[in-house]
């Protein structure tokens, strides 16, 4: 079938609506374009005589594609806004619990390092200032051999 000038006008108009309707949810966009296509088909079928001018009148009465899409924007139900909010919220707790985990691990690592340092330092200090750890060893060694022979 050959495309007439009228068909071309209609195709261009519907393409403009489709383009403007990109910001609508997919289902709404298709529905809008289909509703307008249906309207044009029927209005054309009802013309006594189809002329380019009469097609232009049909399209002019439908109105500017941008304002039709703007009307569709105001006709959205409340739930359309809702999915955005919960979709945003769940990732936050996951993220922050991950972050908390890392913070906890970091703090534990720092505490561990500090404890090790302290332990090493106090051992070091202990060995140089306090002879006690050495003395029992020294006294214990002679004490045992001394008591063993006496027990025998």
């Amino acid at each position: 079938m050959m495309m007439t000038e009228s068909d071309h006008l209609v195709a261009v108009y519907l393409a403009r609506v489709d383009q403007a309707a990109m910001r609508l949810p997919a289902g709404r966009r298709e529905e809008l374009v289909n509703d307008l296509r249906e309207h044009i088909e029927i209005a054309r079928a009802e013309l006594e005589e189809e002329t380019e001018a009469s097609i232009r009148t049909i399209l002019d009465r439908l109105g500017d594609p941008e304002s039709i899409v703007a009307a569709a924007d105001t006709q959205t139900d409340l739930p359309r806004v809702m999915p955005a909010a919960p979709a945003y919220a769940p990732p936050a707790p996951v993220k922050s619990s991950n972050r908390n985990l890392w913070i906890t691990l970091g703090v534990l690592a720092v505490i561990g390092v500090v404890v090790l340092f302290c332990a090493a330092f106090s051992l070091d200090r202990g060995s140089s200032y306090d002879p006690a750890p050495i003395r029992p060893e020294v006294t214990a060694v002679p004490a045992e051999p001394a008591s063993e022979p006496s027990g025998n």
Partner: protein, 112 residues
């Protein structure tokens, strides 16, 4: 949008959908008829297309329904009909509207 246009848009918002229900309360209409009657009745003959998103929402909300019917000439027509929900909403709006309108008229001094 000019202030004038913004005003009419604001006034129509919230009332046009009840005009749709009221037209369908008289008899079922197919898209082209319904949209032409609305736009002629409300003096907005260059924005018939803006009615389709409204019809789409009313259908989603269950206030109107559609049925296909063969036509004597041309393609089959999709007729819009009023549902029981739509009828109840229209009845409710009629009483609300009378109260609201008389309140505004009293304040504006446009009653009579």
């Amino acid at each position: 949008m000019s202030d004038e246009a913004a005003l009419t848009t604001a006034l129509r918002r919230g009332t046009i959908e009840y005009c749709v229900l009221a037209l369908l309360d008289k008899r079922e209409l197919y898209g082209v008829e319904l949209v032409q009657q609305l736009s002629t009745g409300l003096g907005m003959t260059t924005s018939e297309g803006t009615m389709y998103p409204l019809l789409s929402r009313l259908r989603r909300n269950g206030r109107i329904a559609t049925t296909w019917r063969e036509a004597p000439a041309g393609p089959p027509r999709r007729y819009y009909t009023l549902t029981p929900d739509g009828e109840a909403a229209l009845t409710h709006f009629r009483t609300e509207w009378v109260t609201f309108r008389s309140g505004v008229d009293r304040i504006l001094g446009t009653e009579k």
